[in-house]
Symmetry: C2
Subunit: 409 residues, 2 copies
């Protein structure tokens, strides 16, 4: 099943540099009856540290449980990503598959199984076939190293374009590089999609500090996007740092370059998160929802997500309709402090409602022009306090229904 | 804008009896450029008591605020319902319109303005024109009494069929009758839809007890339906009791017939709530989601709503796809206690997953047959406790997108 490339896709996959200590390979494990690489094996030099964030789902995949446990040790030698089968909700057989993958990779590399990180994406409820996974790992290890674009393609499922990004930072007088690849098209479409993101850097960094920096970046990026309000059983973002840039290891915020590294990591995560929204199932508009004037940042975030998840707001944007009444509705239902008569709403740069009612005689021309574009801004000020948050989503179109209503049948 | 009658609609509007003390009239206020009755005036005999529940929205309409205040007094002489303009988010001008309507009706009937209940549904952000409302009230009062079906039609907006129901109960040796009419098509579509429900009974009942009975019935009916997870600024359900059945007034649960009345009211509310779901925008399937084995009823309710609101579950049902992986996902994201390995899922009467994995070799034939029908049951057992809840929703189809993406533009 292939869908047309998203109209919101960038012109091309970016040029991404190599990261010292990272070697990627891809192979055909044939998890589905397709002829494409669907297993990605990333070998990491000794000394690589790792941090990660995983799904909030109460029904996580065994891969997520494995990664959570391995993350407590903080070191990594390999990453194995399977596409076409999420291995979620598969009981003991699913757990056994993850253990077998880690054992196989560890045996080949001469490391501990706990140094092997595993992520899978695809259909739920079918145990990942161990024989295919093991053969895939063996094939990947004898294949020549691949490009980042090859790896980004091999981790994809319903994605309509491959996704990658790069940033740099100066740390301790040295340039460090951060590269990321990601897949995801619905926030989740559990048959075939899920958000998996992998970040690689040559920076030297203590794992606890990497974890803190990743958690901070996640809060303002992956936690601020929604396609359809559905949350995957398998969402995983892992950051690997090989330490080969030669900088003095970052251990705390006071270190030289720590702020630069955190800013670069946040920027990279935001780039990657936006790419997922731009590949939202059926998306024709990229929507930024900015909420200000809330009682707290947390409250602003919830109001923003209520707007971004509202089917009625999303269909209005699809219809290029400045339907601010639906924004009022979504603010009202969020369950957060809000005073109707203090509420202001803008589309793009045009204030359409303020002080609890429509701006009389506002100029509709710039609003109409803004909504005809592909990048839409909705601004809401609650007039209560200093809390603010921004989230990103896409519109809800016939394309979403077509993709998701006709899937397995 | 007219949409085809919902395929889930009942064959016909039911035969509803008169309620002693209640007289309805309809008129053309012409809130929109349409040629239909859009103002409903229900006159209630002296002695009528009232109870009500209203939207949880933090941005309620001035009608909702008016009703909340009037409900504290507990007596009613008139109900005025406007269709085509919700009068929400209209500041002082909206409040003035509600006050003018109450004053006009009170003047005509010789009662207090606080005895007049007002509800409006339609576009947000446009103050209700006072002159049209006043002329409409005057016209309604000189019009002959109308049928329940006429009134149900006059309160409708995007509804594709008129909705009414009836129940009876034996109270204090006398038969009392409860009639209800309702409108609603999206849980909300703020331009034109909203759930407004009105219940009339000849039972004699103390207002505090009527309020308690309505609140109880609401929890298991109107609070258990969702079309699109969006919550109206105007949702209102009012119950009026004229007391003309001649029973000894109900004042508490111990009274003769109190249980029968509460059961009848709950049944009526559930009938009305189901009718709203059956007119869900774009709906082709009526879906019951029953959750058992939760830690509490409240937790079960939240899990059930997470399933019922999931775009991916709803599109799967639209596609007649027994995609239980999406149900797992929706359980996982609900934020409520759940143990993946205790989870069981059924479609209709067929268990498809149990103990955290698919039932091996389950018979797909009855599942497929069930999903091809129009009434779908999804059962989820969490295996944790005794908490249970049932909610109702409809599928998510191209029809929903067509109705909502092309609305104002």
């Amino acid at each position: 099943m292939t869908h047309a490339r998203s109209p919101l896709a960038p012109a091309a996959f970016p040029t991404l540099p190599a990261i010292a200590g990272v070697t990627a390979h891809v192979a055909r494990a044939r998890y589905k009856s397709w002829d494409r690489c669907d297993l990605t094996f990333v070998a990491l030099d000794p000394g690589t540290v790792v941090a990660g964030v995983t799904t909030q789902s109460r029904c996580p995949s065994p891969e997520v449980e494995w990664c959570r446990k391995a993350l407590t040790l903080g070191s990594a030698r390999a990453l194995v990503v399977n596409a076409g089968n999420a291995n979620a909700f598969t009981g003991n057989r699913g757990r056994a598959a993850v253990e077998a993958i880690a054992a196989r990779a560890a045996g080949r590399l001469g490391c501990l199984p706990s140094d092997v990180f595993v992520a899978s994406t695809g259909v739920i409820g079918v145990p990942l076939p161990i024989d295919k996974a093991e053969a895939g790992i063996d094939a990947a290890l004898v294949a020549p190293p691949c490009t980042w674009e090859d790896a980004a393609a091999a981790i994809s499922t319903t994605d309509t374009f491959t996704k990658g990004a790069v940033t740099t930072a100066i740390v301790d007088g040295r340039s460090v590089t951060l590269v990321g690849i990601i897949k995801g098209s619905g926030m989740i479409a559990p048959d075939m999609a899920t958000m998996l993101g992998f970040i690689f850097t040559d920076a030297a960094i203590e794992p606890g500090f990497l974890q803190a920096a990743l958690a901070e970046a996640n809060r303002a990026s992956f936690s601020c996007i929604t396609v359809d309000s559905d949350t995957s059983t398998s969402d995983t973002v892992l950051a690997f740092a090989t330490g080969q840039a030669g900088n003095a290891p970052l251990t705390a915020s006071e270190d030289d370059g720590a702020d630069a590294f955190r800013a670069a990591l946040s920027d990279l995560c935001l780039q990657l998160a936006h790419l997922v929204v731009r590949d939202g199932e059926g998306a024709t508009k990229f929507i930024e929802v900015a909420v200000t004037g809330a009682e707290s940042d947390r409250s602003a975030h919830r109001v923003a997500l209520s707007i971004a998840n509202s089917p009625l707001v999303k269909t209005a944007i699809a219809g290029e309709d400045a339907n601010w009444g639906r924004v009022v509705m979504a603010v009202g239902k969020a369950g957060e402090p809000a005073e109707r008569d203090l509420l202001s709403i803008r589309f793009g740069d045009t204030q359409v409602a303020t002080g609890g009612l429509a701006v009389e005689g506002y100029d509709e021309a710039p609003v109409t022009a803004h909504l005809k574009g592909s990048d839409i801004e909705i601004g809401v000020d609650l007039g209560l306090g200093e809390g603010r948050a921004t989230v990103w989503t896409c519109d809800l179109t016939h394309g979403y229904i077509s993709i998701n209503a006709d899937y397995r049948s």
